[in-house]
């Protein structure tokens, strides 16, 4: 486990995000505690990606606020893998090195850390290849590797398995579990309910820009509090 200096718990207090007068997220209260992964689930367009961007500080909330535990440089202690990752026009290794350089990791350490991260996702053999020529799934794994290399307190993953084959999905789940065991808090979205069951410590259920539940996983999957969540679990909730 990590030393007590961490940006967790992270809380959202009445978080809202509106664009052009339309509420995309509204009145969200939640707490991200250290421990097992927090899974954010909900139908398409529910606001999951927007919520991750707000929590990560890429979007400014139009209402409410986000509070981190007091730790120095909160921005540097978190990383995010986007639903559509953007790889730099560099080699695979170059992509893993870049965020380490920005984070101020000493030059001598970067190479070893970047290569270890590539090994974690099984890309070490492709280190010299141009990153943007990788397959979609390989690109997603590279995006995960370079974020994990930063060793953040919180790692936001927006559908990290969306275009992965079953074996790669299993591999990513193992990586997520390993990162969680080493003390990295994972906050991720997924549309794969089986995956959510396997990974989740707690579940945040979003529907139409509102947070309907934040409950421990056992409770959520057996007796969800809201009818919307129950319908969603049975595949009957449309948007």
């Amino acid at each position: 486990m990590r030393a007590p200096d961490t940006i967790l718990p992270l809380t959202a207090e009445g978080l809202g995000f509106a664009r052009n007068g339309v509420d995309i997220l509204c009145d969200v209260f939640l707490t991200i505690e250290p421990g097992a992964p927090t899974l954010i689930i909900g139908p398409n367009g529910a606001g999951k990606s927007v919520l991750l961007r707000l929590l990560h500080g890429l979007l400014d909330p139009t209402a409410g606020r986000i509070v981190y535990a007091p730790a120095p440089e909160p921005r540097r202690r978190q990383a995010m893998v986007f639903q559509r990752p953007v790889l730099l026009r560099r080699s695979v290794l170059g992509n893993a090195l870049y965020p380490l350089a920005l984070a101020g990791v000493p030059r001598g350490e970067r190479d070893a850390r970047a290569r270890a991260a590539l090994a974690l996702v099984g890309l070490e053999a492709l280190a010299g290849r141009p990153a943007r020529r990788l397959s979609g799934g390989e690109q997603q794994r590279l995006a995960l590797a370079r974020a994990a290399a930063l060793n953040p307190d919180v790692l936001f993953l927006d559908e990290p398995c969306a275009s992965l084959d079953p074996a790669a999905t299993r591999a990513v789940e193992q990586i997520v579990t390993a990162l969680a065991a080493r003390g990295t808090k994972i906050v991720m979205t997924t549309h794969d309910l089986g995956q959510a069951r396997r990974l989740a410590g707690d579940v945040v259920f979003l529907h139409r820009g509102r947070l309907l539940e934040q409950t421990p996983a056992e409770v959520f999957f057996t007796e969800p509090e809201t009818p919307e969540a129950a319908a969603f679990l049975q595949g009957q909730l449309v948007w």
Binding site: L58, L88, R89, R90, Y98, L102, R132
Partner: protein
Amino acid sequence: MNDLGSALTTAASMVTTADPAVVQVVLLSLRVSLTAVAIAALVGLPLGALLAVAQFPGRRVMIVALNALMGLPPVVCGLLVYLLLSRSGPLGPLGLLFTPTAMVIAQAVLIAPILAALARQLLEGMWEEYSEQLRSFGAGPWRAVPTLLWDGRYALLTVLLAGFGRASAEVGAVMIVGGNIDGFTRVMTTAIALETSKGDLPLALALGMVLMAIVLTVNAAAQVLRDSSARWAG
């Protein structure tokens, strides 16, 4: 027609035997234009990258001004640099007028806006794609400038080649600030203009052939680079 034929043969032999008069003029042309491109790149590329990423008051005005300056006629550019460098001008005491340095300055002034404007267009698209990812890594616009210049390096090489093409082909600016002094500030374009008016067609043609060859090589190189950058960019 016969004149042209014999002029062509003489010109060809001047090129193949590396006639010293031709070689000297060609080398000075290359030196002046390459130095001008290097200096213009040092200013123009970072400026273009900055305009692509940064939001500041006056940005739009600067972009419009740069685009307008892309069409700056070389003679006007030459005239402005002439006024700067002439004996009574602000930089007159440096004594640079009618030297190769003055020609470098004029060409650099001519193409820096071109490099900046082309770099901005190119990097703006890349920034649109990169910005959120880079912000997630903790990089703001300032830190993004070197990143974009590096990641766009293959595509930017074609921008440099465009600048070089423009510099080596222009005649007005170097004529005004260089003075076309034989053996000192005479470059290919000014020599061609002069020899043609004097009626020394073989020398003019020989230089014209070299100039054409350089322009063709530059364009071929630009094509190859574009292709390889596209392969890399994916």
